[in-house]
C-alpha cells in the first residue's frame, strides 16, 4: 500500500449554518482510499457520512462549507478547486450513486439520454457514439433488454433497474473513484444482493476505488476491504473489514455490531401452553384493478391471494417477501384501510367483514398500526402529545386525561414526557418511530400491525425499537403482525413467519424452521440474499455471541 492513494482526506471539517444541531457536521475526518479498494463508511444516521462524501464531490448543500482540511484526488486538492474545475472532475474522475433510486433520475427524460448526458457534460464523442456507449453501459450493468431500456423513462423501470442505471451513469467515464451513498438501503434483499455483486464485479474489472457509505454491517461484511466508523461527525475507528467486524476496538463500534439482528430465530413463545387466538384470517383476497383506458382491459394485480392464518395474544407473525409481494396490502386489508375483496377476518371470534363504518370504528381500536415512514406518518403540524392523544379523544376520553395518558405512553416507549409539546420534526427518526408506537398503543389495542416499522432506521436505532416492541408485546400481551423485507429482523422478533410471493403465502411456519430449514425454493433464495452471509462465519459466529 505504498502507492499514492486515489483519494486522501485529511483533517476535514465541515461547518454547518448557525442554529443547526451542531457546529460542525464533521471534524478531523481523515481516511485514504486506494486503487481497487472499497472503503466502507459506517455510522448512525446524522454522523456525517453523506456530508463527507458531498464535500469530496463539491456538492455540499447551501449554507454549509468546508472549514478545514484537504481531500487529495490523485494528489490534487479537490476542496480548493473553482467550480468549473470541480465540474470537470465530477462524473469524469469521480462518479456517485445515491440512496433513493426512485427520485435520483429525472422523471421526464429517457434513461439513455440521461446516461449520454454524462458524455455531453464533458464534451465527449458524437451524438451517435454517446448513444452507442450508453447502450453498452446498460448492457454492462445487466439491464435486461438494453435496447428497449435505453428508451425507457425511469418510471418504467423497477428500483433495482434504476439503481443499475445510476451505476451505469456513475461509471460511464471510468472514474478513478466511485462514491456510493447507501445505494442499496432502499432495495429489497434480493435486489440488494444483485446490486452489491454488480458493484463488486465492475470494481474488479475497472480497478475503481469505491467509497461505500452504509449503515448496514451486513453490507460492510459483504463488500468492504477497509472500514471507517463515524459518530457525530468524527471518525471513531478505522481498519480492515475483518479487524473492525471481528475485533471492534471502540465501544461505539462494538455497540453497533451488537445491535445487528442475529438472524437467529428467537423461538420464545413456543412454550406457551394455550394460545388465546385474537385474530383469525381465512381466504383473504385483494385484487387491484386499475383502469388503463377507455374500452381497454384493466390492469389486474393480485396483491393478496387466499391468505389464511391465526394469531394469538403474545405472538408475533412475521410477514416477509420481496418488494411488491403484497405484504403491505395484506396489512392494510387487516385494518381495513383498504377493503378486501373476499375472505374473512375474525377479531376475537367475531366476523368483521361486511360491517358498517360505525361498527368498524369500534373494533378498529383493538387493532392498530405502526407505519414505515417515520416522517410521513406523523402530522408535521400537530404536537406530539396531541398526535398520541387523538385516538382516545376521538373515542370520547376528555382531552386532559388523554394528554396525561400520552405522557405516560411516551415514558413507556422511552421518551421524555416533555416531548408532548414539541413538533415531530424536532425528533430523530428513531424517536419518531417511538412516537408512532406510542400512538398505536394509546387505544390499548390487542393487535398491532407494524408495516416495515424499522426499515427506515439505522441499525442501532433499529435494535432499540425492536427491543421496545418485543418488550411491549410481552408486557401488554399483544399480538403482533410484523411486516418486513429484512429477514434478519424477522428472524429476531417473530415466532411465526409467513413468506409471501405475488400475493400468496408460499411458506409459513415457526421462525426457526423457516430460517433453519426453508422448504420453498423462493424462501431459500431470500435467505441467501441476506448480506453478510457470504462473508462466512466470522461474522455469523461473532453475531451469535
Amino acid at each position: 500500500m505504498s502507492e499514492q492513494p486515489i483519494l486522501s482526506v485529511s483533517g476535514l471539517a465541515i461547518q454547518l449554518p448557525a442554529g443547526a444541531d451542531r457546529l460542525y457536521a464533521v471534524e478531523h475526518v481523515s481516511f485514504d482510499i486506494h486503487r481497487g479498494e472499497t472503503l466502507a463508511i459506517v455510522g448512525e444516521s446524522g454522523s456525517g457520512k453523506s456530508m463527507s462524501a458531498n464535500a469530496v464531490m463539491g456538492l455540499l448543500p447551501p449554507g454549509t462549507r468546508v472549514a478545514q482540511g484537504q481531500a487529495l484526488l490523485e494528489g490534487e486538492d479537490v476542496l480548493r478547486l473553482d467550480p468549473a474545475a470541480m465540474r470537470a472532475i465530477r462524473g469524469r474522475r469521480i462518479g456517485m450513486i445515491f440512496q433513493e433510486p426512485m427520485t435520483a433520475l429525472d422523471p421526464l427524460m429517457r434513461v439513455g439520454e440521461q446516461i449520454a448526458e454524462v458524455f455531453e457534460a464533458h464534451g465527449l464523442y458524437s451524438t451517435a457514439e454517446r448513444r452507442a456507449r450508453a447502450l453498452a453501459l446498460l448492457t454492462e450493468v445487466g439491464i435486461p433488454e438494453p435496447e428497449r431500456a435505453i428508451h425507457a423513462y425511469p418510471f418504467q423501470l423497477s428500483g433495482g433497474q434504476r439503481q443499475r442505471v445510476m451505476i451505469a451513469m456513475a461509471l460511464a467515464l471510468d472514474p478513478v473513484l466511485l462514491i456510493a451513498d447507501e445505494p442499496t438501503t432502499a432495495l429489497d434483499v434480493t435486489t440488494q444482493a444483485q446490486i452489491l455483486k454488480l458493484i463488486r464485479e465492475l470494481q474488479e474489472k475497472h480497478g475503481t476505488a469505491v467509497m461505500f457509505i452504509t449503515h448496514d454491517f451486513g453490507v460492510v461484511a459483504d463488500i468492504a476491504d477497509r472500514v471507517v466508523v463515524m459518530r457525530q461527525g468524527r471518525v471513531v475507528e478505522t481498519g480492515t473489514a475483518t479487524d473492525v467486524l471481528g475485533n471492534p476496538q471502540h465501544e461505539y463500534t462494538q455497540a453497533l455490531i451488537a445491535a445487528i439482528p442475529t438472524g437467529r430465530a428467537a423461538g420464545v413463545a413456543a412454550a406457551k401452553a394455550e394460545r388465546q387466538v385474537v385474530l383469525e384470517v381465512k381466504g383473504l383476497t385483494k385484487t387491484y384493478t386499475s383502469p388503463t383506458g377507455f374500452l381497454k382491459p384493466p390492469r389486474v394485480v393480485h396483491a393478496v391471494r387466499d391468505v389464511s392464518f391465526t394469531l394469538a395474544r403474545g405472538e408475533t407473525l412475521g410477514v416477509v417477501g420481496e418488494s411488491g409481494s403484497g405484504k403491505s396490502s395484506l396489512g392494510r386489508c387487516l385494518v381495513r384501510l383498504i377493503e378486501p375483496d373476499g375472505g374473512s377476518i375474525r377479531v376475537d371470534g367475531q366476523e368483521t367483514m361486511g360491517q358498517s363504518a360505525g361498527q368498524m370504528r369500534l373494533w378498529r381500536r383493538r387493532m392498530q398500526m405502526v407505519f414505515q415512514d417515520p416522517y410521513g406518518s406523523l402530522n408535521p403540524r400537530t404536537r406530539v402529545g396531541r398526535i398520541i392523544a387523538e385516538g382516545p379523544i376521538a373515542a370520547g376520553v376528555p382531552v386532559k386525561e388523554a394528554l396525561q395518558k400520552a405522557g405516560d405512553l411516551l415514558k413507556l416507549v422511552g421518551l421524555d414526557p416533555s416531548a408532548l409539546d414539541r413538533f415531530p420534526h424536532e425528533f430523530s427518526g428513531g424517536q419518531r418511530q417511538r412516537i408512532g408506537i406510542a400512538r398505536a398503543l394509546a387505544l390499548d389495542p390487542e393487535i398491532i400491525i407494524a408495516d416495515e416499522a424499522v426499515s427506515a432506521l439505522d441499525v442501532s436505532i433499529q435494535a432499540q425499537v425492536l427491543r421496545l416492541l418485543a418488550d411491549l408485546k410481552v408486557r401488554l400481551n399483544l399480538a403482533l403482525v410484523f411486516i418486513t423485507h429484512d429477514l434478519r429482523v424477522a428472524a429476531t422478533i417473530c415466532d411465526t413467519v409467513a413468506v409471501m410471493r405475488k400475493g400468496e403465502v408460499v411458506e409459513m411456519g415457526p421462525a426457526a424452521d423457516i430460517f433453519g430449514a426453508p422448504k420453498h425454493e423462493y424462501t431459500r433464495r431470500l435467505i441467501e440474499a441476506i448480506p453478510g452471509r457470504s462473508e462466512g462465519d466470522a461474522f455469523g459466529a461473532r453475531a451469535a455471541v
Binding site: L105, D106, T292
Partner: protein, 325 residues
C-alpha cells in the same frame, strides 16, 4: 390510438359538461332584471306597452321558461345557437365572426405572458432571495395589481400618441387593398399593445408559479444526480429543473387559457378590439339572451377544448401519464 380514445372520451364528457352549463347559464341569465325587449324599447326612446309586448312575442319571451329552455337546448344540440334579435343575425355567425380576433389577442397575450412569466420566474428562482428575485417578483406583482385600463391607456399615450410607433386601437387600418403580407403586418402592429397589456397582467401569476415550482424541483434528488454528472448549472436549470417545474405551470396555463376567451372584456374595450369579450359584455348589458348564451356556450366549449389540449400537452411533457382518467 390510445390518445385518440382518450380524446373521444374527453370530448364526450366535455359535451355533457357544456350542456349542463347551458342549462345553468340559461336560468342565471334570466334571473337578471330586465329583458331584451324592454332594453330595445328603451333605446328607441319612445315606447308603448303594446310595442314591448309585440317584441316579447317575437322573441319568444312570452312562453314559459322551460319551453324556452327546451327550444334552446334542442337548437344547441343541432349546433344552432339561435338568433340575436337585436343584431338581426344568427348568434353562431356573430360569435364565429368575433372569435378569431379574440383567439388572436388572447393567444398572443397567453404566449407572451407564459413565455415571459416562465423566463422571469426561472430567473428569479435562480437568484432566490437575492435582489434580482425581489425585483422580479415585486414588479410582476405591481403589474398584476395595477388597474388594467390604466396600464392600457398609458401604453397608448406613450407608444401611440407621443412616440407614434404603434396604432392605438382597432385590429387593422381600414381601407386600402394591401397584399397579404402587409395585412398581416398591419394586424401584428395593432396586436402589440393590447396583447402586451393583457399579457403583463397574467405574467405575474406565471412568474410566481414558475418560481415556486422551480425552487421545489431544485430541491429534488435528481438535480444532485445531474450535478454529480458534471453538468453545467445552466444546463441543469434549463433541461432538468425547468422542464420538471413547468408541469404545474402547464396545468394553470390550461385553466387560464380557457378563461381568457371571456376574460378580455376590458382590453378589448379599451383597444376597440372586435372580439368576443366585448360582444359578450354588450349582449349582457342589452340582455340579448340568445347572444349571451351563445357566447357562454362557445366559451364553455373553449374551456373544455383547452382543458383537453392541456391534458394532451401534459401527456406530451410528462411520460408518466398514460391516461388521465
Amino acid at each position: 390510438m390510445q390518445t385518440l380514445q382518450f380524446l373521444l372520451w374527453r370530448l364526450a364528457k366535455g359535451i355533457l359538461v357544456v350542456l349542463a352549463i347551458v342549462i345553468l347559464d340559461f336560468f342565471l341569465i334570466h334571473m337578471a332584471p330586465g329583458d331584451p325587449a324592454s332594453v330595445m324599447a328603451g333605446e328607441s326612446g319612445a315606447t308603448d306597452e303594446a310595442f314591448v309586448q309585440q317584441l316579447r312575442v317575437k322573441f319568444g319571451l312570452d312562453q314559459p321558461l322551460t319551453t324556452q329552455l327546451g327550444l334552446y337546448l334542442w337548437g344547441v344540440v343541432r349546433l344552432d345557437l339561435g338568433f340575436s334579435h337585436r343584431q338581426q343575425m344568427p348568434v353562431l355567425d356573430l360569435v364565429l365572426d368575433r372569435l378569431p380576433a379574440t383567439l388572436l389577442l388572447t393567444g398572443a397575450a397567453f404566449v407572451f405572458s407564459l413565455t415571459l412569466g416562465v423566463v422571469l420566474g426561472a430567473w428569479a428562482a435562480a437568484h432566490k432571495g437575492r435582489p434580482l428575485d425581489r425585483i422580479i417578483t415585486t414588479v410582476s406583482l405591481v403589474f398584476y395589481a395595477a388597474p388594467l385600463f390604466w396600464m392600457a391607456l398609458m401604453a397608448v399615450l406613450i407608444f401611440s400618441v407621443w412616440l407614434d410607433w404603434l396604432p392605438a386601437f382597432g385590429i387593422r387600418d381600414v381601407g386600402g387593398d394591401a397584399g397579404l403580407l402587409d395585412r398581416t403586418l398591419d394586424v401584428a402592429r395593432h396586436l402589440v399593445l393590447p396583447a402586451v397589456t393583457l399579457g403583463l397582467f397574467f405574467t405575474a401569476v406565471y412568474v410566481r408559479m414558475t418560481r415556486a415550482s422551480m425552487i421545489e424541483v431544485a430541491r429534488q434528488d435528481f438535480v444532485k444526480t445531474c450535478r454529480a454528472k458534471g453538468l453545467p448549472e445552466r444546463v441543469i436549470l434549463r433541461r432538468h429543473v425547468l422542464r420538471n417545474a413547468v408541469l404545474p405551470v402547464v396545468t394553470l396555463a390550461g385553466l387560464q387559457a380557457g378563461q381568457m376567451v371571456g376574460g378580455a372584456v376590458m382590453t378589448e374595450t379599451v383597444f376597440a378590439w372586435p372580439g368576443i369579450g366585448r360582444l359578450m359584455y354588450e349582449a349582457l348589458i342589452q340582455r340579448d339572451y340568445n347572444l349571451l348564451l351563445g357566447v357562454f356556450v362557445v366559451s364553455a366549449a373553449m374551456v373544455v377544448v383547452f382543458n383537453i389540449l392541456t391534458d394532451l400537452v401534459y401527456r406530451m411533457v410528462d411520460p408518466r401519464i398514460e391516461v388521465s382518467r
